[in-house]
Symmetry: C2
Subunit: 381 residues, 2 copies
């Protein structure tokens, strides 16, 4: 069974367990076991790591940010290099966002019209126009396996009229993106609708009619309360066409992943594991280690005794990692990034195995009961 | 033949070629083929790299800075961790400086007396007293294989009276350091005397009488003209006791290494390869690549086609490295550091092979003729 429409792409559903799914996404750069977590390589680099280290965490898709790459180094350079895979030496699958979210949130003096976004670059103030056609052209030059349609992503808890309008414009842009896409590049549509289940379901149906290779959920984790996001996911995700991969954009914490997978999500991306690493925060399966805390000053144990990553098995003590962080040594950013991505990679791998074994509910219970701090507002199982 | 006096240490001279020497320094953490270049791990980390990567550049000694480690994390923490080797996971030999140079140059409100240096920490303003005894105690706690005596290092081109005084005090401190040293830790004496060959020779003789495990040349590359340093090295190095390792402190460029080795130096350290890497400057055997330059914008060739390091053989193009540097991506600092240390490691390895083959003069000529910019003031062969 495959709902992908672009040659070279396929999604194969291997097993379901409740709403949770285990599958395989085939791309021109190899197979991706799903559910999967996609590390963010904003500017063509998963910060601090070489590609082999990223792959060793289990990741098989890396995300590039079109907004950033468009402004610098520019898509012409990347195209001349043979595409972002060759430019950045990442051999596995790659996905780019449309640039819309960053154009919306990062740039100066942005205006939105039916045609697209007009904004000024946060780097040099140059005026840019991001239309659905430009988004597809730039993503085509970058050359990821999967491109994303341009969409309107309103802030969390926006009024219903704003959400409805976002859905309407996003659908019109969906048609324009599909008309403008590179033939050999997959494109995913983006379902909006905030935390309103009926809007979400209607938009999912609308986009599901179009020949997208996958369907994404945008507009989550944009300011709404997390329990409300979890609740909406449980009501909405399983309504997305089951024959295509489902991608929850910009989410999230390990808990968000466990809840999202349980709701039927196949793909996630989030800056959290890499960004928190650079802030000295190690994520573990059961909580987190804020390494600057004085209690680690003479703690000569490993960062996370349950973890098999190079940082945790390399003999580096919490005391040493704390020293490096406080002394602003770059090495620790790398050691933490590797660790955090390994935790995410292991989490989705274990979730997949649980789904294949028909024990995802048990996996979820075990995950929740192991949390050091009781998560707030977890939906009842 | 071994002039080392501490059990577990030995220097074995394998071959000479003119003044140039090839040898092996034995330490409790393994053998060090000399000449050798020692990367600087100021705060217990060769910035951006894990120990295995440092070792892969050929380095077999890493230098730690006593001043920095004394202030942070503090020698007690390092001692509790089992010493800096275990704390930082470096399995090969290690050397610490005395802290004097940094106390002299980095700290606030420093005063110098016969007893030592009194200064305030650049980190928290705390008052510290660095005497020869304290220097040996702190270095003993850090636990490197080789400690350095506390010395007075006057600026380049200081008046003769200042240089003479530095030699006198350094000799008195030499006696105190030897009396205070850990029995199982090697200590090197530091010859001063600026660019005055007669002062240098006299001080070398004076310190050569003491049971140091090696002799270092301090007070070079501290502001004097480089040709003058090269000239002085040619007149002075071969006068240092041939039975002990000779260490030229804080030097230098690839050219400095080639000249220094020709003069009889066995060991070098310098922040240049690691610091320049972080400034986007790749050092090559024939010159340098300043990666931010516009000419590399669409240069899809490797950083240094003659280099076998992971950066140069990993498929990263100059255009990609330039993009990473301009986008302030941490990865490039690491890729450049690895490259630069590899160039240094390869240079000393090739120099050693040339000495063993009796062709060091030819090696020097080849090195000089390959330089893209003609070095100024190279002493005639």
């Amino acid at each position: 069974m495959s709902g992908c429409t672009t040659p070279g792409y396929a999604y194969r559903l291997l097993a379901t367990d409740g709403h949770a799914r285990a599958g395989v996404l085939t791309t021109p750069h190899g197979e991706v076991p799903t559910p999967t977590f996609m590390p963010v390589g904003t500017q063509g680099s998963v910060k601090t790591l070489v590609p082999a280290e990223v792959a060793a965490t289990g990741a098989r898709v890396v995300l590039g940010n079109t907004y950033h790459l468009w402004l610098r180094p520019g898509p012409e350079i990347i195209a001349k290099a043979g595409g972002l895979h060759r430019f950045s030496r990442w051999p596995h699958a790659m996905l780019t966002d449309s640039g819309g979210f960053q154009a919306f949130s990062l740039s100066d003096r942005r205006t939105t019209s039916e045609d697209g976004f007009t904004f000024r670059s946060h780097l040099d103030g140059s005026k840019r126009v991001l239309t659905p056609e430009v988004a597809m052209q730039v993503q085509g030059q970058i050359g990821a396996d999967i491109a994303m349609q341009l969409d309107i992503c309103p802030p969390g808890e926006s009024p219903r009229a704003v959400l409805e309008d976002a859905c309407r414009v996003t659908t019109r842009w969906a048609h324009r993106c599909l008309a403008a896409k590179r033939e050999d590049q997959a494109v995913f549509g983006i379902v909006q609708g905030g935390t309103d289940p009926s809007l979400r379901a209607a938009h999912a149906d609308e986009l599901g009619e179009l020949p997208f290779d996958g369907l994404a959920l945008g507009g989550f984790s944009v300011g709404e309360p997390i329990p409300r996001m979890h609740e909406t996911l449980g009501l909405v995700v399983h309504k997305l066409d089951a024959s295509r991969p489902r991608y929850l954009m910009g989410v999230g914490t390990p808990l968000d992943l466990v809840v999202g997978i349980g709701a039927g999500v196949d793909m996630f991306d989030c800056v959290m594991p890499t960004r928190n690493a650079r802030n000295g925060q190690a994520i573990t399966r059961t909580g987190r280690v804020v390494i600057k805390q004085a209690r680690y000053r003479e703690d000569f144990g490993p960062l996370d005794p349950t973890c098999a990553c190079p940082t945790c098995t390399g003999g580096y003590s919490r005391a040493y990692l704390r020293h490096l962080f406080i002394a602003k040594e770059i090495l620790v950013l790398r050691l933490f990034t590797e660790h955090n991505l390994h935790v995410y990679g292991t989490l989705v791998r274990d979730a997949r195995e649980a789904i294949l074994a028909g024990r995802y509910a048990e996996f979820t219970r075990e995950f929740l009961s192991a949390q050091e701090e009781r998560p707030k507002g977890v939906p009842s199982a």
